[in-house]
C-alpha cells in the first residue's frame, strides 16, 4: 500500500473485491470511448476533497437556504440546473492540481500516484445535477463525489482515504482535523490576482500548521524572549508534527517524481514556508525539523514578525495555510487565497488537544 495514505486496514477479502471492482470500472471507462483520463485508485493517489461552496461560488444560493429554508433552496437549484455556477475559492487550486496531473501522466503514463479531486458536500443529491453540469461546463477532472444530503461528511472522508479536505464550514474542518485528516477553512480573496497556470504553488505557515503549536504556547504564556531562548536550546530537537505535515509530505513525494526525471527546474509543484519566526533566532530549528522528517521545502521565508500579506502577493500561491485569522485577513486583503487551519493555541476556543496522527504503516 502506498504510504501517501493515512492508516486504513482492509481485509484481504476486501482487497480482492476491491480489485474486481477496479477491473470493472476500468472496463466501463475504457468503453466510454472518451479522451478523459481515468481517475486513479484511491489508495495510490493524493486525494483532495473539496466542498461545493469552495469549488463554486454559491453565496446567493446559500442566502436562499438561510432565509427561505431547504425546500425553496432545492427548488431554486433545480430550476437553475442548466446554469453553470461561478468559480469559488478552491477553483484555481483544483485547476492547478489538474495541470500537475497532466504533467505526471506524460512522464509516468501508468502510474496512479496522481491527485484525485473528490467533491464532498452535505448538499442534497438533487443539487448534484447542477453541480455535475457545472463541473462539465468547466471541464474539470472530478469524477468522484459524495452528496450526503445533510449528514456530516467526516466518515466519508475517511472512507475515501482523504489527504486534504477544504470547506467553508469551520465546524466540519475542525472535526476533520480532530479525526487526523489535514483540513482547512477556505476564504475568498478580496481582490483578484493572476496565478500561474503552469505551476502549483502551495504556501504554509510553520507553527500550528506544519508543526505542532508547542512553541506558540511558549510565546503566549512566557513571551518572546523565553521563546527565543527555548528555540535556541532545542535547536536540534525536532518539533512535533502539525495537521498539514502529511499533505506537505504527499506533495514532496510527487515532486520527487519530477526530480528523478531531471525536471527539477521545471517542476510544476512549488512549496513555500512563510513564517513569522526570524531566521537568526528561531529559524534553524524549523529547517532542522524538516530535514529530520526527510521533507524539503522549496522556499522558506522568515519574516521576523513582519506582515505576510505583501510577501504572499509576490509569491501568488494557489493556496496559503495559516492557523491565525489575523494573518489570514492580511493575506486576503492583498488577494491571496487563504485557508484557515483551526488548530492549536491560536484559536479562540482552543481545546488543548495535541494532534494524534493516525499511525503510519509500512
Amino acid at each position: 500500500m502506498s504510504d501517501l495514505k493515512p492508516n486504513e486496514t482492509f481485509t484481504t477479502r476486501d482487497e480482492v473485491a476491491a480489485e474486481k471492482d477496479w477491473a470493472v470500472a476500468k472496463a466501463f471507462f475504457d468503453n466510454l470511448k472518451s479522451k478523459k483520463p481515468r481517475p486513479p485508485k484511491p489508495t495510490n493517489a493524493v486525494t483532495v476533497a473539496v466542498s461545493s461552496r469552495t469549488l463554486f461560488n454559491m453565496v446567493e444560493e446559500r442566502k436562499i437556504w438561510e432565509e427561505e429554508g431547504l425546500e425553496k433552496y432545492v427548488e431554486y437549484q433545480q430550476e437553475h440546473e442548466n446554469e453553470p455556477l461561478k468559480p469559488g475559492a478552491a477553483f484555481p487550486f483544483v485547476k492547478a492540481l489538474m495541470t500537475v496531473n497532466t504533467r505526471l501522466r506524460k512522464l509516468y503514463p501508468d502510474s496512479e500516484e496522481l491527485f484525485d479531486v473528490v467533491l464532498m458536500t452535505n448538499n442534497h443529491a438533487q443539487v448534484g445535477v447542477r453541480l455535475i453540469n457545472s463541473i462539465n461546463h468547466y471541464d474539470l477532472n472530478i469524477e468522484r463525489f459524495c452528496m450526503t444530503g445533510g449528514k456530516s461528511p467526516i466518515g466519508y472522508l475517511k472512507a475515501y482515504l482523504t489527504n486534504l479536505y477544504l470547506s467553508k464550514d469551520s465546524d466540519k474542518v475542525q472535526e476533520a482535523i480532530e479525526a487526523g485528516i489535514a483540513a482547512a477553512t477556505m476564504f475568498n480573496p478580496d481582490m483578484e490576482v493572476e496565478l500561474s497556470e503552469t505551476q502549483l504553488r502551495v504556501a504554509f505557515d510553520g507553527d500550528a500548521v506544519l508543526f505542532s503549536d508547542e512553541s506558540e504556547i511558549i510565546v503566549k504564556q512566557h513571551g518572546l524572549d523565553t521563546f527565543f531562548d527555548h528555540e535556541k536550546q532545542n535547536e536540534n530537537k525536532p518539533l512535533a508534527q502539525g495537521p498539514l505535515k502529511c499533505f506537505l509530505e504527499a506533495l514532496g513525494k510527487l515532486q520527487k517524481k519530477f526530480y528523478t526525471q531531471n525536471e527539477r527546474l521545471n517542476c510544476p509543484i512549488r512549496t513555500y514556508l512563510v513564517t513569522a519566526r526570524s531566521a537568526a533566532s528561531s529559524g534553524a530549528r524549523v529547517l532542522k525539523t524538516l530535514r529530520s522528517w526527510g521533507l524539503e521545502i522549496d522556499e522558506a521565508v522568515f519574516l521576523a514578525g513582519a506582515p505576510k500579506g505583501p510577501l504572499l502577493q509576490k509569491i501568488r500561491p494557489h493556496i496559503f495555510f495559516d492557523d491565525q485569522m489575523f494573518h489570514i485577513e492580511g493575506a486576503k486583503q492583498l488577494g491571496t487565497i487563504s485557508a484557515h487551519v483551526p488548530y492549536g493555541i491560536g484559536q479562540k476556543d482552543h481545546k488543548g488537544k495535541l494532534i494524534e496522527q493516525p499511525a503510519k504503516h509500512s
Partner: protein, 266 residues
Amino acid sequence: MAVSCHGMFDLDSCNVQPDSCALPKGAAFAFIKAVQTVNQRLLGLSEKNKTLLFEVVLLGKDCEEHIKLNIFDSAKHYGLEIDKFYFCSSDNLIGTLQANHINLFLSPDKDDVYSVLKAGVPAALLYQQAEQQAINRLKVLFSGDLIGLSADSMVCLKDRGFTDVHIQNFKAAKECLREFVVRIGEMKRMFGHEGSPLHTSLMTVWGSRDVCASALKTLRGWGLDVDEAFCLAGATCGPILALLQPHIVWDNGLHNLKGVAPLLSS
C-alpha cells in the same frame, strides 16, 4: 404494497426446541421495524394513505414443520406486524411470488434475488447491517450504474462481453425497479425533505459522473428525489456501504452475475 422477506430470522443458529426461545433476529428484522415506522407515519398524516402502506408478508422456503411454528411464535413475540405467512419449496418460489402478486421480494441471498429478478418479479437485497440500526428511518440504496444507461446505450454493453440475454435481463430488472421507485416516490412525497422516515440514496460504482447525473434525472423522472448520491468511479464501495448501512439494496444484479465473473477478470 406487499413485501415478502425471507431473511427475517436467523434460522441456522437457533437450537430447535418446540416452545423455547424466540428465534434470534436476522437481517430483515431492522427492516421490518423501519417499515412499521413508515406505515405509522403515513397513517398519522392521513387516513387516506391506507393505500400507500407497506404490507409485509413472510415467505419461508423449504421450512420444516417445527420451524414454521417457531416462526409464528417469534413473530408474535417481537410484535412484528406480519399480515400473511407463506411457505413453499425453493422450486416454487417464483410461482408463489407471482400467484400472490408480491410487489417486492427481499432476501439476503443474492442468488435468490437474481433469479427472481430474471423472472420479472421485483427483488432487492437485504443488507446485512453491522448492528441493529436506529429504526426510525427506512433506508433504501439504489445502485445507479444501470439506471443511468438508457435502453439504447445498454446495447454498448455488448462490446464488453455481455450477451443479449444479459442485456434483456438488465432491461427487465430496470422495469421492475421503475415500479418500485414510482411507489416509493409517492410515499416520500407525503413527507418533506427533513425528518422523513424514508431515506433513499443512489450509488454509481463504475460509471462516470454523467452516468450518475443521468441516473439522478431518471429517478426524478419516475417520481423520486433521492437524498444522497455517491459517484465512486471505481473506488471500492465497501467503506461507503459500511457508513451508509442501508436496509435494502437495489443492486440490479450486475455485480453478482455468475456468468459475468470470468469476463470481469479479463
